[in-house]
Structure formats: structure tokens, C-alpha cells
Symmetry: C2
Subunit: 488 residues, 2 copies
Amino acid sequence: MKSISDLIKSKPWFGWVLYIFTIIIVFLISLFASSIIERRTEANLVQQVVTPIADMEPRNEIWGKNYPREFETYKSTMDTSFASKHGGSATIDMLSRYPNLVILWDGYAFSREYNQGRGHYLAVNDIRKTLRTDVPQPATCWTCKSTDVPRMMNKIGIAQFYKTPWKDMGPEIANPIGCQDCHDNKTLNLHITRPALIEAFKRQGKDITNATHQEMRSLVCAQCHVEYFFNGKEDKYLTFPWDKGFSVEDAEKYYDEIEFTDWVHPLSRAPMLKAQHPDYELFRMGIHFDRGVSCADCHMPYKSQGNVKFTNHKIQSPLANISGSCVVCHRVSENELLENVYERQDKIFELSKLATDGLVKAHIYAKACWDAGTTDEQMKPILQLIRHSQWRWDYVSASHGGSFHAPLECARILGTSIEKSQTAIGLEMEILTRLGKPFPVIPDISTKEKAQQYIGLDMPKIYDSKNEFIKSVLPTWDKIMDERQGKY
Amino acid sequence: MKSISDLIKSKPWFGWVLYIFTIIIVFLISLFASSIIERRTEANLVQQVVTPIADMEPRNEIWGKNYPREFETYKSTMDTSFASKHGGSATIDMLSRYPNLVILWDGYAFSREYNQGRGHYLAVNDIRKTLRTDVPQPATCWTCKSTDVPRMMNKIGIAQFYKTPWKDMGPEIANPIGCQDCHDNKTLNLHITRPALIEAFKRQGKDITNATHQEMRSLVCAQCHVEYFFNGKEDKYLTFPWDKGFSVEDAEKYYDEIEFTDWVHPLSRAPMLKAQHPDYELFRMGIHFDRGVSCADCHMPYKSQGNVKFTNHKIQSPLANISGSCVVCHRVSENELLENVYERQDKIFELSKLATDGLVKAHIYAKACWDAGTTDEQMKPILQLIRHSQWRWDYVSASHGGSFHAPLECARILGTSIEKSQTAIGLEMEILTRLGKPFPVIPDISTKEKAQQYIGLDMPKIYDSKNEFIKSVLPTWDKIMDERQGKY
């Protein structure tokens, strides 16, 4: 500094230059500081509650007033353009695409209609309108569809909720899957609102309240995206078959031991199991789970808007947002990643096709055996093979994204399914040959309509009944809910 | 600097302190510089050729004089302690472990002996001693075993080499798989020495000389680690069945079109295919290949000795060196990675077990059909199913590391194998029932010995013959080679 003071002493103008320069620099630094403070303040504002949220508040738009970004992205789950781009229609009609399924689910409501699932925002709309709810169903079917469920369970009790008929509960259920299902109204922390998950953990000797935040980012999804069944002829108590573990064999053993049967197949007379989307269970078998990735990491990656970084609540296939999802970890071109996923799906699909072809044949040959006058005893091992084969195929098939979450596990399961259905067919051929009967010809089931006709579904009647319900009953439900204006 | 000169002027001792300090710093910097220069010089020395290497020099120890690190690590492929640790014995006897295989390979030399492969250094020793070379074999069997092969092909011609009887070629083949197989003697560049790979590429319209260095780091391995067959009854010309592509179905179609058959199964009379280790083909179906990883990246990761970083030529399972191999890219604990691999292997093994159980039954039931007097025409579709089913199972089973390289592809292939063998069994049951015959009882084949007895192998006689060969013929081969002392 000595030399600088010397300089100022010798040339006084230099002091002024230094003075002005310092002023400019300090001014600029202050601008930056101000911007930083402002952004922080804004970020805090974002978290500020504008409207207090009541306990068990089911209305997502009320939550949305406080959390507009999360709400807006959540609301956009009504956008089905991605599915439309990749599947040909906003709601893929799986029975039209794979008419084999009609035969596999003969005697069960799934043979009437089975469409690709859509976004959370459309959950109440879609369950109201599906042909599957035109047969008598318990309110258990509502459990995963609406934020009104915890409210009603709290009001009338869990067991009473489940055993109420589905249609009786209708006027209470208006708000689709949303905020309150996963978030605490005071702290916004993730929480579990559905008893079945808590109870399943308990029976496994685990306390779900000990779950870490990262585990909760999967467990809130596992409230619904799991295999389940309705326990008890009257109770219809929602239960996860996890007591022996999370594998397909563990659940199979569980069902076999309690002799649970979803329905008896009218063709083969096999005691069938219907798999529900065991997404969480299959996800647990894959490498992403092994590496500590959660559902939200890929299906709800963060998003930036202006200065705010928030969790994107447009829950969807990561394939609709590869750059925001996969590429965060995998620095590989989007196209290459997409091809990797499609390759996995194609291979699983190839095995799934072999499995369903075998199962259709096994059911129809079993019917021929019964028609030929075979005995219960001879059919018993065959029916068990069909039960297990279809359960295993369905476990993979019903799972959303299983062929990506755990491709090898899916292939393994399908391999065992194929072995079982083909073994059943061999035994059936033996019976038919011994009884001197020809092998049945597989009927023309090349379209949904032909397959539904083969199993004897009167589809025009079913459609009429549903349309009548939509026209006459649904408006009364909406009216009741509207008149309450949130006064529960 | 002005102030420092002022200081020195005012306090002369400060000038001396500065002077001595500078000397110390410069001395230390010079020490570092010297070390860097020395290391560079040493590294250059490493690359210096001490002994010139002749064209087609087969003796690995001659190459080793110039490249001691590479040679020493190569030589340690004689160490089988890893296999021993993980399998229970230095050379796992696969027929004892899986006696089913004896039935599947009935009528083929593999039913005599099939051991887990060992290191490259032991290749000549092991092929000399296996019971599979006691039946008449062509010199084609030597192709992948020795650095003497390119020398002999150059001397007598490729076609002549293949058609020479294996035993006649014996005295020429002394040096196991080694340096010259993959390296140019002048430039040390990777090169292809086996014609079959070059020819297969040519038939696919590709010029292998256009391959990149990274591709060559897999292609030198693909000279041998591939599916192949001996084309022509007399010619026994080594050929890769890649004309239609690299998939298992591509090769199957290729073999079907040229009506190639390795042997006719004595039980089922099916025209069989024996899969050889399609390691490269299956590796191409996996994610590591997709991401541009080469064989050498994982099986020959670099190693440091003192100042030299070199490619470890102890080619082995990466599981024997997870930290040096996998962890370079995957920053995950060794135990976790190991578990991930074992999980894949277990799932593939489960499907493989279903496949072999089905195949054993299919062969034995086919024999019963023949015994019952069925016709060629009725058996034709069954034999085709058995051919394809066993081919597909063998494709996965014979591949080294396929269940890791491409687990999902392996599961897919095994799924189709299971479907085919089970379909065959069903058709066989139909035939037997129609002819009024009981289903055959699967014999006790719970040990290798029992299985070999069932298919009628006179093992004591086979062992005697081989021991006689080892005692009387092998020493004469060694003597001839020793006397030449490298004068070819």
C-alpha cells in the first residue's frame, strides 16, 4: 500500500479514479446481493400458506391455492397426449389389442373392458365409467381413487368403508387422487393415508413410521401401486399378500394357503387369481431399487420455473420426459435410452405372447376334457397349473412398467408361466386322447368382439346398462357433492 | 518490488534470507522434475524391444522377453484359484454337477466329459487331455487353442489345415493361446489371425480392417469366443453362422436352411445342433456392448506396477477383480455388485433348469414313441421342436457369462426353449396315448455315472484309451517340438 500512497501523493487524480472505481464495483456487488436476497424471499413466499388447509381436506384446488406449481403440474395429469402419441389412442383398449385377454378373464369383469390407465386427475371419472363397476362391487374399489377416502374412513371406520356397496359410496367420492393422499396438511411431509400398506408392514414386523424420506418417496405410491385382494366374502377388506415376502411365488403361496380365489373360470373351472398392478413389488426386484432410486426420482423429477425448483407433480412415464428424468443420471442420448427401454419391452412382450397363447389353449382344452367326462381328480393338477400359470403371467402383465423396472424378473416369471401352461396342455391332450376325443379347435377370437361373443357376453346389454347409470345416477352424485360445498 | 528493494536496503540480512530461500525452493522443484523425467524414460524403456520377434513367432516366452509385465500376467492365467474358490474345484465337472446334460448330449462326445473352461495358458494341455478328443476329430479343433495355428495355416494352407486329422497335427501344436494370436509382431497393434472371423465379416459385407481400436479390443476375442460349426463332411471348414445376423434365431434359420446337423440324437432321433460358446454374439445383445464397452475393458482392465500402467493379460472373470474392473465405472460396493451378478445368474439358472428337465423328458418320451411304432411323419414336428429347444437352451448354457452379458436376452431365449420342449412333450403324450402305451418312467439319472450308464457309455474303456494316448503319444509330440527349438 506504501507504493499506492506514494502514487496518490505524486498524482492526486489517481486517488479520484480509484474512488470512483470502488463505488462502481460496490454498486454492482450490491445489485447481485439484492437479487439473491429477493430470490430467497420469493422462495420463502412460495412455501407460505395463503389459505389454511383443514385436516383431511379432499379438495385438491384448495391445496392448489397454496402450492400453485405443484397443483398445476398435478392437474396436467389429465393430459393423455403422450399415451396417445405412443399407443394410438388416448385410452388404449387392451382387449381390442389383445383379444386373448377376453378368454383369460372369462367370467370376470375384466373381460368386459380393460383400458390402459390414465392420469391421477382422471381416476374418479374413469372408475365411474368403466364397465367393470356395473357389476356389484364393494367400496373397496374406491380406496385408491380419491382423496375423499381417508375422510370417509375416518368418519365411518375402515371396515365399514370397505363393506359398503360401491354405488352407495358414490355420492361421497368426488375428488380424484391428489394432495391429501400423500401429504400432511400442516407440514406438507409425506404421509401414508391408506391402512392396507401400514397393516401389511405391521404383519411383516415393520413400522412404516420408521421409513426414511427417500423410502417415503416410493411408499406413498405403494399405497396403491401394489398387488392386493379383497379379504372376506362380506368384509372385502383391502389386504396386501406380503406376509411371506415380495416375490410372485411368495404371494402365490400366501393365496394358496388361505385358498383364496378371485373367480372360477367358466371354461376350465380353474380357481383363478387376478393380479393387480404389483408395480412396487416388481420395482423392488430391479436395479433402480437396488441403487436407492425412488418412484418420485423418475416419475416426478424436479422442475425449474423462474427461480423456483419444485417437484413436478405431472406423474407420468419417464419416457415422456427422458431428458428431465433418465438423463439426470444416465448421460446417454435420449434416443439410445428409448431404444434400450423398447428392447426390454419387446422381449417381455414376446414371452407374454407365448404365455397367453398357451393359457388360451389350456382353458379351452380343459373345457374339452370336462365335456369328454373326465374326473375332478384328473383335472386337479391341471387346474392348479392353469391357476399358477395365469397368475404369474398376469403379475407381469398387470404391472405398470414391470418390463422396465425389473425386466429379468419379468422374463423369469413368464418363463415359469409358459412351462406351467404347456405342461397343463400336455396333460389335457393325454386325457382327451385316452377318452378317444379329438382336440378342440381354437375358435376365431381374432377380435375383442369375436372373443366376447365366444364367452357369451351380451355387450349391447352391458353398454345399455352402463349408459343408463351414467345418464341417471352420476348427475345425482355430482349434485349431492356440489350442494355440500366442502362442508363435510 | 520497490518496497522489497527498500527493505533490503534498510535490512541487508533480509536479502540473504531471500537468497537462501530461493535456492531451497529451486532445489525441491528440480527434485520433482527429475523424478518426472526419470519415470518417462523408464516408461519408454518398457516399450523398447529387447529381442526382435520373428513373423508368426508362436513362442509366448520370446514375446515375453520384450513385454515382461504383459507376459507375466498372461502366464498367471494358469492360476485357477478363483474358479476353485467359486466352484469347489479347479476344473468344475459340469456333467457331475448337472447329470441331465449327459442325456441331452447322448451320442455326442460332450456326454463323455464337459469341464468348466480354464485359463488361456492351459488351452493346449486341456484339449490334449479331454475325453472329447479321443474320438476322431479334425485339426479344426486346434484352431482356437494355439499360437502355432497361424504358422501352420500359413505353411500348408487354411483348408488343408482344417481337414488334417487332429492327431496328425498334434506334434506341430505346442504353444497355448497367446501373444501372436492378437498382436502384430512389429507394431504390437491388435490384429486378426483367424480366417473364420474375417470371412464371416466379409459375407456380411463388412471389412474387418475398418474396425476401430476399441472394436478390435472385442474382435480379437471374437476370433474364438463365438458360435461356429465345421462346414463340409470332409472339409471341416471352420465357419461362423452369422450370414443372417447375430441373434439365436438368425443362426437357427441359417442352420435349418443348409440342413446342418451336428449329430442325430440316439434316443429321440432328432437332428441336433451343438451350440458353442456364443460369447461375442450374446455380449452384443447386452447393455455393456450398447454403451461401447469392449471385452478387454472388463476382462483385461489396466494395472499399475511402479510407474507403468499396462493392460492386465490375466484374462479372467471380472468377479475376480471387481475393484479393478466394475468399480472403475460403477461406484458401488463390491459386495453389492457381486450380489447383482449372482441374482442374474440365479434367475437364468432357474429357467435353464426348467429347460433341461423338459428336454430330458422330450428325448425319452420320443424314444418311447418310436418304440411304440409311430411314424416318421408324426415325429417330424416333434423332432424339429426338440432340435430348436435344445439349440436355444445350449446357446445360453454354452455361452461364458451370457447370464451377465445379456441376462434378459438369455431369459427370452430360455423362455422360447421351454415352450418348445413342453410342446414336444404334449405331442408325444398324445402319440403314446393314441397307441395305447404308458408314459415312460424317467430313469434314475441323478449322477453322471448313472446317466452315462443309461446312455450306454463304457467309461472305463474310454478312460483306458485316453490314458494310453496320454502315456504313449503325447510324449512323442513334445519330443518333436522340443528338438526343433523354434526352428520352424
